[in-house]
Protein backbone atom coordinates (compact mmCIF):
# COMPACT_ATOMS: atom_id res chain seq x y z
CA UNK A 1 0.00 0.00 0.00
CA UNK A 2 1.30 3.45 -0.86
CA UNK A 3 2.51 5.59 2.07
CA UNK A 4 0.00 8.39 1.45
CA UNK A 5 -2.88 5.90 1.61
CA UNK A 6 -1.69 4.54 4.96
CA UNK A 7 -1.08 8.05 6.36
CA UNK A 8 -4.41 9.44 5.21
CA UNK A 9 -6.30 6.35 6.42
CA UNK A 10 -4.78 6.61 9.88
CA UNK A 11 -5.73 10.28 10.11
CA UNK A 12 -9.30 9.46 9.15
CA UNK A 13 -9.35 6.61 11.68
CA UNK A 14 -8.25 9.11 14.30
CA UNK A 15 -11.02 11.51 13.23
CA UNK A 16 -13.62 8.75 13.57
CA UNK A 17 -12.41 8.03 17.11
CA UNK A 18 -12.83 11.70 18.06
CA UNK A 19 -16.36 11.71 16.66
CA UNK A 20 -17.23 8.61 18.69
CA UNK A 21 -15.92 10.35 21.79
CA UNK A 22 -18.12 13.33 20.95
CA UNK A 23 -21.18 11.08 20.73
CA UNK A 24 -20.40 9.42 24.08
CA UNK A 25 -19.87 12.84 25.67
CA UNK A 26 -23.23 13.94 24.28
CA UNK A 27 -24.95 11.11 26.16
CA UNK A 28 -23.48 12.36 29.43
CA UNK A 29 -24.48 15.97 28.75
CA UNK A 30 -27.13 17.54 30.98
CA UNK A 31 -29.32 20.44 29.88
CA UNK A 32 -27.35 22.83 32.09
CA UNK A 33 -25.49 25.62 30.30
CA UNK A 34 -22.68 25.34 32.84
CA UNK A 35 -22.25 21.67 31.95
CA UNK A 36 -22.04 22.52 28.23
CA UNK A 37 -19.79 25.56 28.69
CA UNK A 38 -17.67 24.60 31.70
CA UNK A 39 -17.85 20.80 32.19
CA UNK A 40 -19.91 21.62 35.28
CA UNK A 41 -16.72 22.94 36.95
CA UNK A 42 -15.86 19.33 37.76
CA UNK A 43 -12.69 18.66 35.76
CA UNK A 44 -10.25 16.53 37.77
CA UNK A 45 -6.46 16.53 37.57
CA UNK A 46 -5.88 13.95 34.84
CA UNK A 47 -8.44 15.26 32.38
CA UNK A 48 -7.52 18.86 33.11
CA UNK A 49 -3.80 18.15 32.82
CA UNK A 50 -4.14 16.61 29.39
CA UNK A 51 -6.56 19.21 28.11
CA UNK A 52 -4.33 22.06 29.28
CA UNK A 53 -1.20 20.66 27.66
CA UNK A 54 -2.99 19.57 24.50
CA UNK A 55 -4.62 22.96 24.19
CA UNK A 56 -1.44 24.87 24.88
CA UNK A 57 0.52 22.86 22.34
CA UNK A 58 -0.88 23.21 18.89
CA UNK A 59 0.16 22.99 15.27
CA UNK A 60 2.67 25.61 16.34
CA UNK A 61 4.45 23.18 18.68
CA UNK A 62 4.24 20.20 16.35
CA UNK A 63 5.10 21.85 13.03
CA UNK A 64 6.13 25.42 13.75
CA UNK A 65 8.74 24.57 16.37
CA UNK A 66 10.47 22.04 14.08
CA UNK A 67 10.51 24.75 11.44
CA UNK A 68 11.98 27.20 13.91
CA UNK A 69 14.80 24.87 14.97
CA UNK A 70 15.40 24.20 11.27
CA UNK A 71 15.71 27.89 10.45
CA UNK A 72 17.04 29.54 13.59
CA UNK A 73 18.76 26.73 15.50
CA UNK A 74 18.69 25.98 19.20
CA UNK A 75 17.68 29.52 20.09
CA UNK A 76 14.17 28.09 20.02
CA UNK A 77 15.02 26.19 23.19
CA UNK A 78 13.93 29.47 24.80
CA UNK A 79 10.60 27.63 24.66
CA UNK A 80 11.61 26.03 27.95
CA UNK A 81 11.45 29.47 29.58
CA UNK A 82 7.93 30.27 28.55
CA UNK A 83 6.53 26.81 29.23
CA UNK A 84 7.99 26.83 32.75
CA UNK A 85 6.63 30.33 33.28
CA UNK A 86 3.19 29.03 32.30
CA UNK A 87 3.42 26.66 35.27
CA UNK A 88 4.34 29.47 37.65
CA UNK A 89 1.54 31.68 36.32
CA UNK A 90 -0.94 28.84 36.73
CA UNK A 91 0.24 28.23 40.28
CA UNK A 92 -0.06 31.87 41.37
CA UNK A 93 -2.59 33.58 39.13
CA UNK A 94 -4.50 30.54 37.87
CA UNK A 95 -5.57 29.41 41.32
CA UNK A 96 -6.97 32.88 42.04
CA UNK A 97 -8.79 32.94 38.72
CA UNK A 98 -10.27 29.54 39.56
CA UNK A 99 -11.41 30.82 42.94
CA UNK A 100 -13.14 34.01 41.78
CA UNK A 101 -14.74 32.02 38.98
CA UNK A 102 -16.18 29.48 41.37
CA UNK A 103 -17.12 32.01 44.01
CA UNK A 104 -18.84 34.53 41.75
CA UNK A 105 -19.93 32.35 38.82
CA UNK A 106 -17.55 33.74 36.22
CA UNK A 107 -17.29 31.97 32.91
CA UNK A 108 -15.24 34.35 30.76
CA UNK A 109 -12.46 36.97 31.20
CA UNK A 110 -15.09 39.66 30.58
CA UNK A 111 -17.04 38.34 33.60
CA UNK A 112 -14.04 38.90 35.86
CA UNK A 113 -13.31 42.44 34.71
CA UNK A 114 -16.94 43.49 34.16
CA UNK A 115 -17.96 42.50 37.67
CA UNK A 116 -14.98 44.02 39.47
CA UNK A 117 -15.29 47.34 37.67
CA UNK A 118 -19.08 47.20 37.45
CA UNK A 119 -18.72 48.46 33.91
CA UNK A 120 -20.30 47.44 30.62
CA UNK A 121 -17.52 49.23 28.72
CA UNK A 122 -14.85 47.14 30.42
CA UNK A 123 -16.90 43.97 29.85
CA UNK A 124 -17.33 44.70 26.13
CA UNK A 125 -13.68 45.61 25.60
CA UNK A 126 -12.56 42.42 27.38
CA UNK A 127 -14.94 40.30 25.30
CA UNK A 128 -13.78 41.95 22.07
CA UNK A 129 -10.10 41.46 22.88
CA UNK A 130 -10.82 37.82 23.77
CA UNK A 131 -12.63 37.07 20.54
CA UNK A 132 -10.61 39.11 18.06
CA UNK A 133 -7.24 37.77 19.07
CA UNK A 134 -8.28 34.16 19.44
CA UNK A 135 -9.90 34.16 16.02
CA UNK A 136 -6.38 34.77 14.70
CA UNK A 137 -5.41 31.64 16.56
CA UNK A 138 -8.22 29.67 14.90
CA UNK A 139 -6.71 30.65 11.58
CA UNK A 140 -3.34 29.23 12.60
CA UNK A 141 -4.76 25.89 13.69
CA UNK A 142 -6.99 25.60 10.65
CA UNK A 143 -4.05 26.30 8.38
CA UNK A 144 -1.99 23.72 10.27
CA UNK A 145 -4.71 21.14 9.72
CA UNK A 146 -4.90 21.93 6.02
CA UNK A 147 -1.12 21.55 5.69
CA UNK A 148 -1.13 18.22 7.53
CA UNK A 149 -3.84 16.62 5.45
CA UNK A 150 -2.48 17.88 2.16
CA UNK A 151 1.03 16.67 3.06
CA UNK A 152 -0.29 13.31 4.34
CA UNK A 153 -2.23 12.71 1.17
CA UNK A 154 0.70 13.80 -1.01
CA UNK A 155 -1.35 16.83 -2.12
CA UNK A 156 -4.25 14.65 -3.30
CA UNK A 157 -6.49 16.34 -0.74
CA UNK A 158 -6.22 20.07 -1.46
CA UNK A 159 -5.37 22.43 1.38
CA UNK A 160 -8.84 24.02 1.47
CA UNK A 161 -10.68 20.68 1.47
CA UNK A 162 -8.42 19.30 4.21
CA UNK A 163 -9.05 22.37 6.34
CA UNK A 164 -12.79 22.08 5.80
CA UNK A 165 -12.93 18.38 6.71
CA UNK A 166 -11.01 18.80 9.94
CA UNK A 167 -12.90 21.94 10.95
CA UNK A 168 -16.21 20.18 10.46
CA UNK A 169 -15.10 17.20 12.57
CA UNK A 170 -13.93 19.45 15.43
CA UNK A 171 -17.11 21.52 15.31
CA UNK A 172 -19.27 18.38 15.21
CA UNK A 173 -17.94 16.82 18.39
CA UNK A 174 -17.91 20.23 20.08
CA UNK A 175 -21.58 20.80 19.26
CA UNK A 176 -22.44 17.27 20.35
CA UNK A 177 -20.75 17.18 23.72
CA UNK A 178 -19.71 20.74 24.64
CA UNK A 179 -16.64 21.19 26.78
CA UNK A 180 -16.88 17.56 27.97
CA UNK A 181 -16.29 16.35 24.40
CA UNK A 182 -13.44 18.82 23.99
CA UNK A 183 -11.80 17.61 27.20
CA UNK A 184 -12.22 13.92 26.44
CA UNK A 185 -10.84 14.27 22.94
CA UNK A 186 -8.00 16.36 24.38
CA UNK A 187 -7.06 13.45 26.63
CA UNK A 188 -6.64 11.26 23.57
CA UNK A 189 -4.94 14.05 21.64
CA UNK A 190 -2.56 14.98 24.46
CA UNK A 191 -1.28 11.42 24.82
CA UNK A 192 -1.18 10.73 21.08
CA UNK A 193 0.73 13.86 20.12
CA UNK A 194 3.32 13.48 22.88
CA UNK A 195 4.10 9.83 22.15
CA UNK A 196 4.17 10.26 18.39
CA UNK A 197 6.42 13.30 18.33
CA UNK A 198 8.95 11.53 20.54
CA UNK A 199 8.78 8.26 18.61
CA UNK A 200 9.01 10.05 15.27
CA UNK A 201 11.99 12.14 16.32
CA UNK A 202 13.90 9.19 17.76
CA UNK A 203 13.22 6.97 14.74
CA UNK A 204 14.33 9.68 12.32
CA UNK A 205 17.43 10.56 14.30
CA UNK A 206 18.54 6.95 14.68
CA UNK A 207 17.90 6.14 11.02
CA UNK A 208 19.68 9.22 9.74
CA UNK A 209 22.52 9.65 12.21
CA UNK A 210 22.72 6.57 14.41
CA UNK A 211 21.91 8.44 17.62
CA UNK A 212 20.84 11.89 18.90
CA UNK A 213 24.36 12.60 20.15
CA UNK A 214 25.79 11.92 16.70
CA UNK A 215 23.23 14.36 15.29
CA UNK A 216 24.49 17.07 17.66
CA UNK A 217 28.06 16.34 16.60
CA UNK A 218 27.18 16.58 12.92
CA UNK A 219 25.36 19.86 13.45
CA UNK A 220 28.46 21.26 15.15
CA UNK A 221 30.57 20.19 12.17
CA UNK A 222 28.27 21.22 9.34
CA UNK A 223 26.05 23.99 10.74
CA UNK A 224 27.68 25.46 13.87
CA UNK A 225 25.68 28.65 13.32
CA UNK A 226 22.60 26.70 14.49
CA UNK A 227 24.13 26.10 17.91
CA UNK A 228 24.60 29.65 19.17
CA UNK A 229 22.59 32.84 19.52
CA UNK A 230 21.15 34.76 17.77
CA UNK A 231 21.06 32.01 15.09
CA UNK A 232 21.84 32.12 11.35
CA UNK A 233 19.38 34.90 10.59
CA UNK A 234 19.92 36.89 13.78
CA UNK A 235 16.36 36.21 14.96
CA UNK A 236 17.02 35.28 18.59
CA UNK A 237 18.45 38.53 19.87
CA UNK A 238 18.01 39.49 23.52
CA UNK A 239 14.78 41.45 22.90
CA UNK A 240 13.11 38.64 20.99
CA UNK A 241 14.27 36.07 23.56
CA UNK A 242 12.76 38.01 26.44
CA UNK A 243 9.69 39.01 24.43
CA UNK A 244 8.79 35.47 23.37
CA UNK A 245 9.23 34.30 26.96
CA UNK A 246 6.70 36.84 28.19
CA UNK A 247 4.22 36.84 25.33
CA UNK A 248 3.96 33.07 24.90
CA UNK A 249 3.43 32.57 28.63
CA UNK A 250 1.28 35.43 29.93
CA UNK A 251 -0.33 36.00 26.54
CA UNK A 252 -1.42 32.42 25.95
CA UNK A 253 -2.57 31.91 29.54
CA UNK A 254 -4.82 34.97 29.25
CA UNK A 255 -6.52 33.75 26.11
CA UNK A 256 -10.06 32.66 26.93
CA UNK A 257 -9.54 29.02 25.99
CA UNK A 258 -6.87 28.73 28.68
CA UNK A 259 -8.73 30.78 31.29
CA UNK A 260 -11.79 28.59 30.83
CA UNK A 261 -9.66 25.61 31.84
CA UNK A 262 -8.96 27.27 35.14
CA UNK A 263 -12.66 27.97 35.67
CA UNK A 264 -13.58 24.37 34.96
CA UNK A 265 -11.26 22.79 37.55
CA UNK A 266 -12.80 20.81 40.37
CA UNK A 267 -10.55 22.28 43.09
CA UNK A 268 -7.70 24.63 43.92
CA UNK A 269 -5.53 21.60 44.56
CA UNK A 270 -6.04 20.51 40.96
CA UNK A 271 -4.93 23.92 39.66
CA UNK A 272 -1.82 23.96 41.85
CA UNK A 273 -0.92 20.45 40.72
CA UNK A 274 -1.25 21.62 37.13
CA UNK A 275 1.00 24.58 37.82
CA UNK A 276 3.70 22.36 39.26
CA UNK A 277 3.58 19.59 36.67
CA UNK A 278 2.36 20.81 33.26
CA UNK A 279 5.73 22.42 32.38
CA UNK A 280 7.26 18.92 32.40
CA UNK A 281 5.11 17.98 29.43
CA UNK A 282 5.12 21.39 27.78
CA UNK A 283 8.88 21.91 27.84
CA UNK A 284 9.91 18.34 27.07
CA UNK A 285 7.89 18.30 23.84
CA UNK A 286 10.47 20.69 22.38
CA UNK A 287 13.30 18.17 22.88
CA UNK A 288 12.20 15.89 20.03
CA UNK A 289 11.17 18.80 17.79
CA UNK A 290 14.72 20.15 18.16
CA UNK A 291 16.06 16.84 16.88
CA UNK A 292 13.64 16.97 13.95
CA UNK A 293 14.46 20.55 13.01
CA UNK A 294 18.22 20.14 13.27
CA UNK A 295 18.18 16.82 11.41
CA UNK A 296 16.15 18.49 8.70
CA UNK A 297 18.60 21.36 8.45
CA UNK A 298 21.34 18.84 7.61
CA UNK A 299 19.54 16.46 5.27
CA UNK A 300 16.94 18.74 3.64
CA UNK A 301 18.36 22.25 3.55
CA UNK A 302 16.68 25.12 1.71
CA UNK A 303 13.00 24.34 2.22
CA UNK A 304 10.59 27.13 1.26
CA UNK A 305 8.17 26.21 4.05
CA UNK A 306 10.27 25.07 7.03
CA UNK A 307 7.11 24.10 8.96
CA UNK A 308 6.80 21.08 6.66
CA UNK A 309 10.12 19.59 7.71
CA UNK A 310 8.69 16.95 10.08
CA UNK A 311 6.20 15.40 7.63
CA UNK A 312 8.68 15.62 4.77
CA UNK A 313 11.34 13.76 6.75
CA UNK A 314 8.80 11.14 7.77
CA UNK A 315 7.72 10.46 4.21
CA UNK A 316 11.31 10.16 3.11
CA UNK A 317 12.81 8.16 5.96
CA UNK A 318 10.10 6.53 8.16
CA UNK A 319 7.78 3.57 7.53
CA UNK A 320 4.33 4.49 6.20
CA UNK A 321 2.42 3.26 9.25
CA UNK A 322 4.56 5.37 11.55
CA UNK A 323 4.21 8.39 9.31
CA UNK A 324 0.44 8.00 9.47
CA UNK A 325 0.41 7.68 13.24
CA UNK A 326 2.61 10.73 13.63
CA UNK A 327 0.63 12.86 11.21
CA UNK A 328 -2.49 11.86 13.11
CA UNK A 329 -0.60 13.12 16.17
CA UNK A 330 0.02 16.41 14.38
CA UNK A 331 -3.67 16.53 13.55
CA UNK A 332 -4.38 15.94 17.23
CA UNK A 333 -2.10 18.82 18.20
CA UNK A 334 -3.90 21.24 15.92
CA UNK A 335 -7.42 19.96 16.63
CA UNK A 336 -7.02 19.99 20.40
CA UNK A 337 -6.24 23.69 20.24
CA UNK A 338 -8.75 24.46 17.54
CA UNK A 339 -11.69 22.84 19.32
CA UNK A 340 -10.78 24.68 22.53
CA UNK A 341 -10.64 28.02 20.74
CA UNK A 342 -13.92 27.37 18.97
CA UNK A 343 -15.43 26.49 22.33
CA UNK A 344 -13.94 29.56 24.04
CA UNK A 345 -15.18 31.94 21.36
CA UNK A 346 -18.57 30.28 21.47
CA UNK A 347 -18.61 30.70 25.25
CA UNK A 348 -17.62 34.37 25.11
CA UNK A 349 -20.23 35.16 22.45
CA UNK A 350 -22.93 33.14 24.19
CA UNK A 351 -22.21 34.45 27.65
CA UNK A 352 -21.01 38.01 27.04
CA UNK A 353 -23.26 38.89 24.11
CA UNK A 354 -26.32 36.60 23.94
CA UNK A 355 -26.97 36.03 27.64
CA UNK A 356 -25.94 39.54 28.60
CA UNK A 357 -27.59 41.69 25.95
CA UNK A 358 -29.94 39.61 23.80
CA UNK A 359 -31.78 37.22 26.10
CA UNK A 360 -30.76 37.45 29.77
CA UNK A 361 -33.62 35.11 30.75
CA UNK A 362 -32.64 32.32 28.36
CA UNK A 363 -33.05 28.80 29.72
CA UNK A 364 -30.17 26.32 29.85
CA UNK A 365 -31.25 24.36 26.73
CA UNK A 366 -31.78 27.63 24.86
CA UNK A 367 -28.26 28.80 25.73
CA UNK A 368 -26.84 25.47 24.56
CA UNK A 369 -28.77 25.70 21.27
CA UNK A 370 -27.51 29.24 20.63
CA UNK A 371 -23.99 28.12 21.49
CA UNK A 372 -24.20 25.41 18.84
CA UNK A 373 -25.35 27.92 16.22
CA UNK A 374 -22.45 30.17 17.12
CA UNK A 375 -20.07 27.24 16.57
CA UNK A 376 -21.41 26.89 13.03
CA UNK A 377 -20.84 30.61 12.41
CA UNK A 378 -17.32 30.40 13.82
CA UNK A 379 -16.65 27.41 11.61
CA UNK A 380 -17.43 29.47 8.51
CA UNK A 381 -15.28 32.37 9.74
CA UNK A 382 -12.39 30.03 10.53
CA UNK A 383 -12.57 28.42 7.11
CA UNK A 384 -12.44 31.71 5.24
CA UNK A 385 -9.66 33.03 7.47
CA UNK A 386 -7.61 29.92 6.83
CA UNK A 387 -7.81 30.08 3.05
CA UNK A 388 -7.26 33.81 2.70
CA UNK A 389 -3.95 34.14 4.52
CA UNK A 390 -0.70 32.23 4.63
CA UNK A 391 1.42 33.99 7.24
CA UNK A 392 4.19 32.12 8.96
CA UNK A 393 2.63 30.16 11.84
CA UNK A 394 4.67 31.43 14.76
CA UNK A 395 4.41 35.09 13.87
CA UNK A 396 0.64 34.93 13.85
CA UNK A 397 0.49 33.00 17.10
CA UNK A 398 2.79 35.48 18.75
CA UNK A 399 0.68 38.44 17.68
CA UNK A 400 -2.53 36.85 18.88
CA UNK A 401 -1.05 36.06 22.28
CA UNK A 402 0.32 39.61 22.55
CA UNK A 403 -3.18 40.94 21.99
CA UNK A 404 -4.70 38.81 24.74
CA UNK A 405 -1.84 39.85 27.02
CA UNK A 406 -3.26 43.38 27.09
CA UNK A 407 -5.82 42.10 29.62
CA UNK A 408 -3.02 41.30 32.08
CA UNK A 409 -3.01 44.57 34.08
CA UNK A 410 -6.78 44.35 34.59
CA UNK A 411 -6.78 40.67 35.53
CA UNK A 412 -3.92 41.28 37.97
CA UNK A 413 -5.82 44.17 39.54
CA UNK A 414 -8.72 41.82 40.27
CA UNK A 415 -6.83 38.67 41.26
CA UNK A 416 -3.83 40.15 43.07
CA UNK A 417 -5.21 42.63 45.62
CA UNK A 418 -3.10 45.70 46.33
CA UNK A 419 -3.63 48.92 48.30
CA UNK A 420 -4.30 50.90 45.10
CA UNK A 421 -5.89 48.72 42.41
CA UNK A 422 -6.19 49.98 38.86
CA UNK A 423 -9.35 51.92 38.11
CA UNK A 424 -11.90 51.36 35.35
CA UNK A 425 -10.60 54.36 33.41
CA UNK A 426 -7.04 53.17 33.92
CA UNK A 427 -7.74 49.68 32.62
CA UNK A 428 -9.66 50.94 29.58
CA UNK A 429 -7.02 53.55 28.70
CA UNK A 430 -4.29 50.96 29.20
CA UNK A 431 -5.92 48.43 26.88
CA UNK A 432 -6.50 51.02 24.12
CA UNK A 433 -2.95 52.35 24.31
CA UNK A 434 -1.58 48.81 24.55
CA UNK A 435 -3.43 47.67 21.45
CA UNK A 436 -2.40 50.78 19.50
CA UNK A 437 1.21 50.22 20.54
CA UNK A 438 0.94 46.56 19.58
CA UNK A 439 -0.16 47.54 16.08
CA UNK A 440 2.68 50.04 15.70
CA UNK A 441 5.31 47.75 17.22
CA UNK A 442 4.37 44.64 15.20
CA UNK A 443 3.07 45.98 11.88
CA UNK A 444 4.28 49.55 11.26
CA UNK A 445 7.72 49.31 12.91
CA UNK A 446 8.17 45.63 13.75
CA UNK A 447 9.87 44.99 17.09
CA UNK A 448 11.59 48.38 17.72
CA UNK A 449 15.15 48.16 19.08
CA UNK A 450 14.98 44.39 18.69
CA UNK A 451 12.41 44.07 21.47
CA UNK A 452 9.24 42.06 20.79
CA UNK A 453 6.29 44.33 19.96
CA UNK A 454 4.14 42.66 22.61
CA UNK A 455 6.51 43.83 25.33
CA UNK A 456 6.34 47.45 24.15
CA UNK A 457 2.55 47.14 24.11
CA UNK A 458 2.35 45.71 27.62
CA UNK A 459 4.75 48.31 28.94
CA UNK A 460 2.75 51.18 27.44
CA UNK A 461 -0.47 49.58 28.65
CA UNK A 462 0.69 49.23 32.24
CA UNK A 463 2.23 52.70 32.46
CA UNK A 464 -0.89 54.37 31.08
CA UNK A 465 -3.13 52.26 33.33
CA UNK A 466 -1.13 53.28 36.41
CA UNK A 467 -1.04 56.98 35.51
CA UNK A 468 -4.73 57.21 34.63
CA UNK A 469 -5.67 55.21 37.74
CA UNK A 470 -3.84 57.76 39.85
CA UNK A 471 -6.26 60.46 38.71
CA UNK A 472 -9.55 58.59 38.35
CA UNK A 473 -12.22 57.13 40.61
CA UNK A 474 -11.27 53.81 42.27
CA UNK A 475 -13.46 50.71 41.92
CA UNK A 476 -16.59 50.58 44.07
CA UNK A 477 -15.36 49.91 47.65
CA UNK A 478 -18.13 47.36 48.29
CA UNK A 479 -17.25 45.36 45.18
CA UNK A 480 -13.57 45.60 46.00
CA UNK A 481 -14.21 44.38 49.54
CA UNK A 482 -16.41 41.56 48.28
CA UNK A 483 -13.93 40.19 45.74
CA UNK A 484 -10.64 41.04 47.41
CA UNK A 485 -11.98 40.08 50.81
CA UNK A 486 -12.96 36.66 49.50
CA UNK A 487 -9.55 36.23 47.88
CA UNK A 488 -7.81 37.24 51.08
CA UNK A 489 -9.82 34.70 53.02
CA UNK A 490 -9.21 32.01 50.41
CA UNK A 491 -5.46 32.52 50.12
CA UNK A 492 -4.59 33.41 53.69
CA UNK A 493 -7.60 32.42 55.81
CA UNK A 494 -7.61 29.48 58.19
CA UNK A 495 -9.28 27.16 55.73
CA UNK A 496 -8.78 26.96 51.97
CA UNK A 497 -11.82 26.16 49.90
CA UNK A 498 -10.02 23.45 48.05
Amino acid sequence: MEPWVVATSLIFLYLIITLVIGVVANRRLSSSAEDFLLYGRRAGPIVLYLTVVATYHSAFAFLGSGGFFYTHGIGFWVAGCWTILVGAITYTLGVRIWFVGKQFGYVTPADILGDFYNSEAVRIVAALVSVVFTILYIQVQAQGLGYILSVASDDRIPFALGTAILLVVAATYLMAGGLRAVYWTDVLQGIWMYLTVWIGAIVLTVRLFGSPLELWRRVALERPDLLTLPGPQGFFGPGMWFGMTMVLSFGVVLQPHMLIRYFSASSARTIRLLGATTPLYLASLYIPTALVGLAGALVMPGLDVPDRIFPLLLFEYAPAWLTGLILAGATAAAMSTLDSILHANMTVLTRDVYQRYVNPEASGPRVVAVGRLIVVALLVVAFFLSITSSDFLVVVVTMSAAGAMQLLPGICAVCLPSPRPLTKAGVLAGVFVGLATLYVATVAVPHPLGMHGGIWALLANWIVALVVSRFSAPPDPATQARIHGALEEFMYGDKESS
Binding site: L227, L229, L416
Partner: protein
Amino acid sequence: MSSRPVRSHWWPRTLRGRVATIAFLGGMLLAQPPLVFQLANRVEPWILGLPFLYAYLSVIYAALLALLLMIWRWRL
Protein backbone atom coordinates in the same frame (compact mmCIF):
# COMPACT_ATOMS: atom_id res chain seq x y z
CA MET B 1 -17.85 39.23 52.93
CA SER B 2 -14.61 38.62 54.80
CA SER B 3 -13.69 40.57 57.91
CA ARG B 4 -9.96 40.06 57.37
CA PRO B 5 -8.10 43.19 56.29
CA VAL B 6 -6.92 42.89 52.71
CA ARG B 7 -3.18 43.16 52.22
CA SER B 8 -1.12 43.09 49.05
CA HIS B 9 -0.94 39.71 47.29
CA TRP B 10 2.02 40.75 45.15
CA TRP B 11 4.70 39.35 47.42
CA PRO B 12 4.70 36.12 49.49
CA ARG B 13 4.05 36.53 53.20
CA THR B 14 6.07 33.59 54.48
CA LEU B 15 9.83 33.23 54.53
CA ARG B 16 9.67 29.99 52.61
CA GLY B 17 7.44 31.62 50.01
CA ARG B 18 9.85 34.52 49.60
CA VAL B 19 12.85 32.19 49.26
CA ALA B 20 11.04 30.09 46.66
CA THR B 21 10.01 33.18 44.69
CA ILE B 22 13.52 34.62 44.70
CA ALA B 23 14.96 31.24 43.69
CA PHE B 24 12.51 30.96 40.81
CA LEU B 25 13.12 34.50 39.58
CA GLY B 26 16.88 34.01 39.95
CA GLY B 27 16.79 30.78 37.94
CA MET B 28 14.67 32.43 35.27
CA LEU B 29 17.10 35.35 35.17
CA LEU B 30 19.96 32.95 34.39
CA ALA B 31 18.05 31.83 31.32
CA GLN B 32 17.31 35.38 30.16
CA PRO B 33 19.35 38.15 28.56
CA PRO B 34 21.89 39.46 29.22
CA LEU B 35 23.15 36.50 31.29
CA VAL B 36 22.34 33.73 28.83
CA PHE B 37 24.07 35.65 26.05
CA GLN B 38 27.13 36.45 28.16
CA LEU B 39 27.56 33.22 30.12
CA ALA B 40 26.35 30.48 27.84
CA ASN B 41 26.38 31.53 24.21
CA ARG B 42 28.95 29.02 22.98
CA VAL B 43 29.23 25.46 21.70
CA GLU B 44 32.13 24.28 23.85
CA PRO B 45 32.72 22.71 26.27
CA TRP B 46 30.38 19.89 25.34
CA ILE B 47 28.44 18.49 28.28
CA LEU B 48 27.25 14.88 28.11
CA GLY B 49 27.44 15.07 24.34
CA LEU B 50 25.41 18.27 24.12
CA PRO B 51 26.60 21.71 23.05
CA PHE B 52 27.15 24.07 25.95
CA LEU B 53 24.26 26.49 25.34
CA TYR B 54 21.73 23.68 25.05
CA ALA B 55 23.07 21.88 28.11
CA TYR B 56 23.21 25.12 30.14
CA LEU B 57 19.57 25.90 29.42
CA SER B 58 18.52 22.30 30.05
CA VAL B 59 20.14 22.29 33.48
CA ILE B 60 18.41 25.56 34.44
CA TYR B 61 15.07 24.29 33.19
CA ALA B 62 15.48 21.06 35.16
CA ALA B 63 16.22 23.07 38.30
CA LEU B 64 13.19 25.31 37.76
CA LEU B 65 10.95 22.30 37.18
CA ALA B 66 12.22 20.73 40.39
CA LEU B 67 11.60 23.99 42.22
CA LEU B 68 8.00 24.12 41.01
CA LEU B 69 7.46 20.59 42.31
CA MET B 70 8.96 21.55 45.66
CA ILE B 71 6.73 24.61 45.88
CA TRP B 72 3.74 22.37 45.29
CA ARG B 73 4.94 19.83 47.83
CA TRP B 74 5.45 22.55 50.42
CA ARG B 75 1.95 23.88 49.65
CA LEU B 76 3.24 27.41 49.17
